[in-house]
């Protein structure tokens, strides 16, 4: 799968990312690093431990990282979760929002793995 195909498969646009980050090699490098970024696991852990503050921070980080890499769906779902958790307490919606983030995250991760 090419980089362009990868973005298309997620319903995103390579051109948009390329305009911001300039180099394809740079994008590939940071997509690779994204796989080892701990934010998503921290988010899951925080939910398991009922730690809303850490969950908020992890969701916030994920939102920013995803946005920079043009993973806009993941960024949007993370953003929703971030706003939900901003008062640093879980709500009735939190779990459903997390599941949405997880779906988007897994889609992105599978795609990146297929790139390599």
């Amino acid at each position: 799968m090419t980089l362009s195909e990868f973005y298309s498969s997620l319903g995103e646009s390579l051109d948009e990312v390329l305009e911001r980050l300039r180099l394809e090699s740079r994008i590939v490098k940071y997509l690779g690093l994204f796989l080892s970024d701990p934010s998503f696991n921290e988010l899951k852990d925080a939910f398991a431990k009922n730690d809303a503050q850490t969950a908020f921070r992890a969701a916030h980080t994920l939102k920013g990282v995803a946005a920079n890499l043009g993973l806009n769906k993941l960024s949007a779902s993370s953003s929703e979760l971030t706003e939900d958790l901003r008062p640093c307490a879980f709500t009735a919606n939190s779990q459903a929002l997390l599941e949405k983030v997880e779906t988007d995250y897994n889609a992105a991760v599978e795609g990146i793995k297929a790139l390599q």
Binding site: R20, K63, V65
Partner: protein
């Protein structure tokens, strides 16, 4: 010389984010990274004057971006180091909060590489320009203050030279006036003087006797008691000085002129109205003149003059208390008593080479604490700290130290070195040594130091060790002298020796 690449501090808890920013910026900038707010603050403290820009994330564990900003505000760093916040944060109130805390710019995620680079470039360029300007101003102020202070010292020495006095009198008055003023400010708010006036009053105090240039030599330096007519002429130095100052065409409304006038005219007035020239009473006498008059009397009593020997510190205090030299403001006598012990030490360890720096510290202090236009300049603060530090170390390092600068040829000795070697603390090359102090031991020791200074060497950065005997307490004592030479390293020029620092270690 190639210009140093500006240093950027990237603060983000996410390794990937730091790497990406560093990737984009490292072709033009040097980068250091911090993983959280605490690390960032540590680096900021360590490299305050080096860091050209901070890229700050907002949401982080262990002190977030807002807390970092709050501390940068508290320490005054925010005025010198620009901060660009980079965050995915969109909450309006938080972004506004960041601006309120002084961030220069806010870049949202996802960011555009080109926009980021340009904002970083512009911000650094702008701040650099501002910093260069403020350095320029401060350097000039430093030079000017030193020159001003030297000028006043020179002029007042010229006046005293005619009296056959050492010139130490003016410097003593300066020290005593300062200490009395500080004590007075601590004790009372009665007089309308602020901390910023201290430096000005001290400078003005140097002028207190300039009126004496109008007094004929025969009267000024008469060894015996003056006749009533002669004393009347002598008293005229107060009025004469006031007239001279009135004739100065500039500075009529300047505080320095006002204080100089008050001090010159009224430093012989007394609290009970029995002084001269105007017979002012109590607080009719301006406070600056009151302070200088008591400082003048104390120093006159404790110094040797052509018509009297020197009294001890204790005797002088006693005489002042007993109104033997006229009556003084009781509040000022209280102040004098309070500073008495410190005063003896200060006068004994007085070092005129620090005088110029002292004046500068006053101005620097006033500028940095100016409510309306505070000056923030980290380099400048560090410079002041360095000067203070070296003064401090010199004062506690009880060693025999000397330093020599080549243009002009001036040697300075630490108080211990001066004492042991029998030499004055400052020796200027062209000066013929004072006949009185030209004892054999002193001349011999000076020659030995000069021999060390004349040694031909090649430029090197390490100190060298020289064995040399010195005449101490009439005995020839073997010593090790550690000498460090400072060379200028101009481009395409022959290196020149600018100064030498030495430490004399007595071998037991």
């Amino acid at each position: 010389m190639e210009e140093r690449r500006p240093l950027i501090l990237i603060v983000d808890d996410v390794a990937m984010n730091r790497a990406l920013l560093s990737d984009i910026l490292s072709d033009k900038y040097n980068i250091i990274e911090a993983q959280n707010g605490n690390e960032a603050l540590m680096l900021l403290r360590e490299k305050t004057s080096e860091i050209a820009l901070v890229l700050l994330d907002m949401v982080m564990p262990e002190k977030d971006g807002m807390e970092v900003l709050a501390i940068m505000n508290k320490n005054g760093w925010i005025s010198e180091i620009p901060v660009i916040m980079i965050s995915g944060e969109t909450a309006h109130s938080l972004v506004e909060g960041a601006y309120t805390l002084g961030v220069t710019d806010f870049i949202g995620r996802p960011f555009d590489e080109m926009v980021l680079k340009n904002r970083v470039n512009n911000t650094i360029r702008l701040y650099k320009k501002q910093k260069n300007l403020s350095n320029l101003v401060l350097n000039q102020i430093y030079e000017k203050t030193r020159n001003n202070s030297m000028m006043v010292t020179m002029l007042s020495h010229i006046v005293e030279f005619r009296n056959g006095e050492s010139g130490m009198h003016v410097l003593h008055i300066n020290t005593i006036t300062e200490m009395l003023l500080r004590e007075l400010l601590r004790r009372s708010r009665k007089y309308n003087i602020s901390k910023n006036d201290i430096g000005i009053i001290c400078t003005a105090s140097s002028m207190h006797d300039i009126g004496k240039i109008t007094i004929p030599d025969e009267i000024l330096n008469k060894p015996g008691k003056l006749t009533p007519e002669e004393f009347n002429i002598m008293k005229g130095h107060t009025i004469n000085c006031a007239q001279m100052l009135n004739a100065v065409p500039v500075g009529k409304d300047e505080p320095l002129m006002k204080y100089a006038y008050e001090i010159c005219r009224w430093h012989h007035e007394r609290w009970d109205g029995k002084g001269y020239p105007d017979g002012l009473k109590g607080d009719e006498i301006p406070i600056a003149a009151q302070i200088v008059s008591i400082a003048d009397v104390y120093d006159a009593l404790t110094s040797e003059r052509c018509y009297k020997h020197a009294f001890t510190h204790e005797k002088a205090l006693e005489m002042i208390h007993n109104n033997e030299c006229g009556v003084f403001n009781p509040l000022l006598i209280e102040c004098l008593d309070a500073i008495a012990d410190k005063l003896v030490i200060s006068l004994q360890t007085f070092d005129w080479s620090k005088q110029a720096d002292k004046d500068f510290f006053y101005i620097a202090d006033a500028m940095m604490n100016d409510q309306k236009h505070p000056i923030y300049n980290q380099m400048f603060r560090q410079f002041i700290d360095e000067r203070k530090k070296s003064h401090f170390f010199e004062s506690i390092l009880d060693g025999m130290l000397f330093e020599y600068s080549y243009t002009p040829g001036v040697m300075k000795l630490s108080s211990k070195a001066a004492k042991k070697l029998g030499l004055p603390r400052t020796i200027i090359d062209e000066n013929k040594p004072n006949e009185k102090s030209q004892e054999n031991a002193a001349t011999e020791n000076l020659e030995k130091i000069k021999k060390i200074l004349r040694r031909h060497t090649v430029p090197k950065d390490k100190p060298s060790l020289i064995k040399q005997t010195f005449n101490i307490d009439g005995k020839s004592i073997p010593c090790n002298v550690k000498v460090l030479q400072i060379w200028t390293k101009g481009q395409n020029e022959v290196p020149m020796l600018t100064s030498v620092y030495g430490h004399i270690h007595v071998l037991q």
